[in-house]
Every structure is written in C-alpha cells, then in structure tokens.
Amino acid sequence: MPELRLQGLRTRNLAPIDLQIAPGDLVFLSGPSGSGKSLLLRALADLDEHQGEVWLDATPCAALPTPEWRRRVGLLPAEAFWWHDRVGDHFPTRHDPNLLDRLGFGPEVLDWQVGRLSTGERQRLALARLLALQPQALLLDEATANLDPPNRDRVEALIQDYRREQSAPILWVSHDPDQRQRLAAPTPGLTGARRLIIRGDRLEEESTP
C-alpha cells in the first residue's frame, strides 16, 4: 500500500499543508468545531475545490479519473447517507463477509431496510460499505462518534487491523481524547498514532497531557 502525501494542500480556512502519512501509519486530527477538519478530508477526496496536490506514492490526484481516486482514497463522512432501501444494495456484489461479522452484524443485515437502522448501525455499516471497496488509504471523520463502547472497540480493532494487514495510511478526525490516547501507543506490528491538532490556521503536534 502506498504513502499518502499532501503537498501545499490549501482549503478554505487552513494555511497550506504539507504532510506525509507512511503506509500503515495513523494520524489523528483534532481541533475546534469549524476549524476545517472535515473540509480538509473533503479536499483529500477531491470532493471540494482546493489548491495544492495530494499524492498516493507517485500518483497525483489530478492524474486519475476522480471516481478512481475516490475508490483509492476512501473517505468515511461523519454522517452516513444511503440511497437504496435495502442495506445490501449499497455493497459491492463480492466483498469480504468477515467485515460485517467483525462489526457485530450477521449476514442477514444485508436484507435489512435502511430506514430502520439506528444511527450507530448506520455508522458501522457505512464503514463496512467503505472497507468493502478496499481503499488504499482511509480518511475517517468521527468514525465512532455515535457508538457505544463495545462497538467503538470493534471499529477501532477493525481499523487497526486494516492498517496492519493492508498497510493503509489513515487520517482520522477524532474529538475523543481518550481514543487518541488509546491508539497513540505502538502495538505489535503497528507504530503509534501521530496526533495533530488545528490551532488557528495551522496543524501542530498535540502534546501528551
């Protein structure tokens, strides 16, 4: 899996950003509401206009058709939206059945109606939907905000494994200081997470409290 590199990336409220996330590395991003975290992720997925460039190894975003770029750099937005009635219709026909299992769902979930899902179920299923496409890099926006502790742990474990097995670089917007602390420690096969915080219009390293 490749390295994710931001070169002079400029969004509406942030100064140009240079950042490298090596394969399998996790970078947490936090900062006050409205400081531009989500906008940064959107720019990385080429969902908004921006200046600067994003690279996956030697491939710049501009060199790929946008759908292909977005399949490679998978963004999980804070709010999960659905467009078909049935959950399974949002998944590619062939996907790893373990994904659902690891998030606490049986295979029957694919036949559930989207309208009857709880917020937390939507959030977990949105992650499963994204990982089913096997993106090479992951951008997570508040991936566990609506989850109870057991499900939050499931998601964290799944993402850690995705780092380890796919060596995907991950940029994770998280408001939860405990979560950032928890994953900051290195574990077997994984480096510890780097923690960045937005102060003013800049990214700074977050110091350990």
């Binding site: 997925a45 080429d46 969902l47 908004d48 206009e49 946008t66 759908p67 292909e68 977005r70 399949r71 998978g74 963004l75 937005p77 709010e79 999960a80 939206f81 659905w82 467009w83 949002h90 939907r129 994204l130 496409l133």
Partner: protein, 267 residues
Amino acid sequence: MTLILLSPLDLALAASLVLLLALLSWRLHLGVEQRVLIAALRSVIQLSLIGLVLNFLFAQTNFTFIGLWTLVMLGVAGWEVMARQKHRYRGAWGFGIGTLSMFLSSFSVILLALTLIIGVEPWWQPQYLIPLLGMLLGNTMSGIAIALDNLSRQAWEGRGRIEARLLLGQSWECAIRDIRRDSMRAGLIPIVNSMAAAGLVSLPGMMTGQILSGSPPMEAAKYQMMILFLITAGTGLGSAAAVWVGSRRLFDHRQRLRLDRLTGPGR
C-alpha cells in the same frame, strides 16, 4: 355560424367577476386581492398588445419580423422558466438552460409540424406559426420549469446522498441518476395527464376557440389531437435536454457536486 363580436361592455361584465373575487379576498383576509388585480390588469394589457402585434404580424410576409417575434416569445418563456426555480443556476446558465432546451424542442417540433404535417406554404406563415408555437412554448415551459426545479431542489436537499455515492467511487452520472429520472418524470406528468383527460374533463383551449369561431367540431378535434402530440413530444424532449444540461452543470470537471452554482433558497 358567424363569429359573435364582444363589446367593451361584455368584457367589463366579465371583469366585474374578478373584482368581486378581489373583494372577497379582502373581506376574508386571504391577502391575494392585490395579486389578483395586478394579474387581471396584466392579462388585459398583454392580450391587447398581443392582439395589436398579431394584427401587424399577420399582415407581414417578411420572415425577419416573424423570426424576431418567435425569439421574443422564446426569451420570455426562458425568463419564466428561470423565475419559477427555487434554486436557480447562477449566471447565464439560469436563463440559458431553459431557453436552450425550449429552443431545441419547440422549434424542431414546430418545424416538423409546419412542413411535414400541416404543410403550410411558406412554413413560417404567421397565422399558423405564432399560435402553434405559443401553445408549444407555453406547455414545454411548464414542463421544463417543473423538471428543472425538481432537479435543482433534489440536488440541493440530497447533497449528502449524492456525495456519499461519489465518495464510493461512483461517477457523477450514476450519483444523480435517480434524481434525473425523477425530474424528467415530474416534467412529463402534467402533459401526459392532460392528454389522458383531454375532452372528458374540459375541452382544451384551442379546440374551444376553433369551435367558437365556427369550425366543425371534428376538424377542431383533429387539430387538438395534433397539438397535444406536438406538445407532449416537445415537453418530453425539452425536459430531457434541460435535465441533461442542468445535471451536467451541477458537477465540475473533477466530478464534484457544485451546489455553489445554484442560488440559495428563497427569492
């Protein structure tokens, strides 16, 4: 049968009914009396002017005059389409999308009708061209306005869903496919309904007019059928064109949803 001419007194009598309605609105605090009166006044002025202009145009044999007049009709219809949008396209697109689609659909359909079906010599004879084009534009205008309004409103409200699809690597066409289909259908439904109910619920305006002016009802019915077919085809083609161009405009070259190309809600 002879044509019975209306005197100013006859018209005043009919107008007094509208005055009565305005009075009713005022008494019941409906708050529409001003709008009713202004609309009535507008219709008097516009129709009188049109009467004069048509008198002048029908006497013309010069294509330039008639052509210019059709462009004026097109422009007004295009303006009307734009005015009916809750979220308008910014810049020239707001006027351009509706106008272009109407031009493509109405003008090609009318050309076909006048040359191949009715076979008027020359095809731009104003007595046929102007009323037929008017009916076509009036109806395609409604269809296109509904279709475009549907498209831009659904895109505005469905931003999360559209972007979720884009984020999963779908193309812009795929991400807006449902909305497109919905909008085209919405634009077509009124005319299809009125085609289905034609003659049963109300006698369509053109047929009524022809009967009043002394045409045999069967002849009037045939003309009415033709115009209904033309209108339906025109509305369908126009809505399709408008929705296609409109949805394309909602995305940029990097397939990003560009709601900033629409104005916000409200007028």
